[in-house]
């Protein structure tokens, strides 16, 4: 069981300068961003799969989850996804499963 204060930190809305900005390649911003774990879950379903590939293999997702949201457990799970080398919609589905499961778990623990 994780302390409520830690959970609320992971679930909080971060300032816009700390949000996650989705790019499809170097310098090409899609216009989509996520300022919380809840938004991040939603955006995984919406953004171009190219963007998910770009960020997964650069390690951007795990870095943001670890350093900004401060959820080391989720960061580790995202990191381990890389070793399976997923791409396209398979990557989208696997990433969505990992992140949404974690989000639902934390939300459930926070409410109880």
């Amino acid at each position: 069981m994780v302390a409520n204060s830690s959970i609320s930190r992971v679930l909080r809305k971060v300032p816009r300068e700390n949000a996650f900005y989705f790019f499809t390649s170097i310098g090409n911003y899609t216009g989509e961003n996520a300022g919380s774990l809840e938004e991040f879950v939603r955006k995984i379903k919406e953004v171009d799969a190219k963007s998910l590939e770009f960020h997964l293999y650069r390690g951007d997702f795990e870095k943001w989850v670890d350093e900004t949201l401060e959820d080391k457990e989720l960061a580790e799970k995202i990191r381990s996804l890389k070793s399976l080398s997923p791409s396209g919609n398979s990557l989208r589905n696997q990433l969505y499963l990992i992140v949404s499961k974690r989000y639902e778990k934390l939300k459930g623990e926070f409410c109880s």
Binding site: R16, Y21, F23, I26, G27, Y29, G31
Partner: protein, 166 residues
């Protein structure tokens, strides 16, 4: 040079001096005077007036970064913005040391075009992701990294004067 209705009007000698300075800004008043057949004090007066009124904005050195071993990446970044925030985005970009030029374009949607320089591609991406994308009013960004330059010249007064005569 005269000021007419608050506008700067250059005389023939001013134009000639500007052409010479554009070729090589290190030439002395005496050298320019000799080329144009006028006294160096006259050249001094004309240049001084043009500096004072902002016709000549600055003198600068064009440095070949490759020759001094500075590796860098240059990119042209098009920032599509919300029209209400466009001016602010342009001003914020202009304040960044990574940004060399900032212009507004009305070609399709309202956009800001900027020339950006960074140490490498990763630094370029970090700058855009951390300092440009989060600016209020930024809708999306397209970036093209320059791989080779075929021509790199400044606006030439001499060429423009020749063409405007025809």
């Amino acid at each position: 040079m005269k000021i007419k209705n608050q506008a700067v009007v250059l005389d023939n000698l001013d134009w000639k001096i500007l052409q010479i300075l554009q070729e090589n800004a290190k030439q002395t008043y005496t050298e320019i005077g000799q080329l144009l057949g006028v006294a160096h004090s006259t050249i001094y007066d004309h240049i001084h007036k043009m500096e004072e009124h902002g016709v000549i904005k600055k003198y600068t050195a064009v440095v070949d970064l490759e020759k001094i071993g500075i590796k860098h990446v240059t990119a042209i970044m098009t920032v599509f913005t919300n029209p209400q925030e466009s001016e602010k985005v342009a001003k914020r970009l202009s304040e960044s040391k990574e940004v060399l030029e900032v212009s507004a374009s009305l070609s399709e949607n309202l956009s800001i075009i900027a020339k950006v320089v960074a140490e490498n591609q990763n630094r370029l991406h970090l700058f855009i992701a951390q300092s440009v994308a989060p600016l209020p009013g930024v809708l999306r960004i397209r970036t093209s990294i320059i791989t080779r330059k075929y021509k790199d010249e400044r606006f030439s007064i001499e060429k423009w004067k020749m063409e405007s005569k025809h």
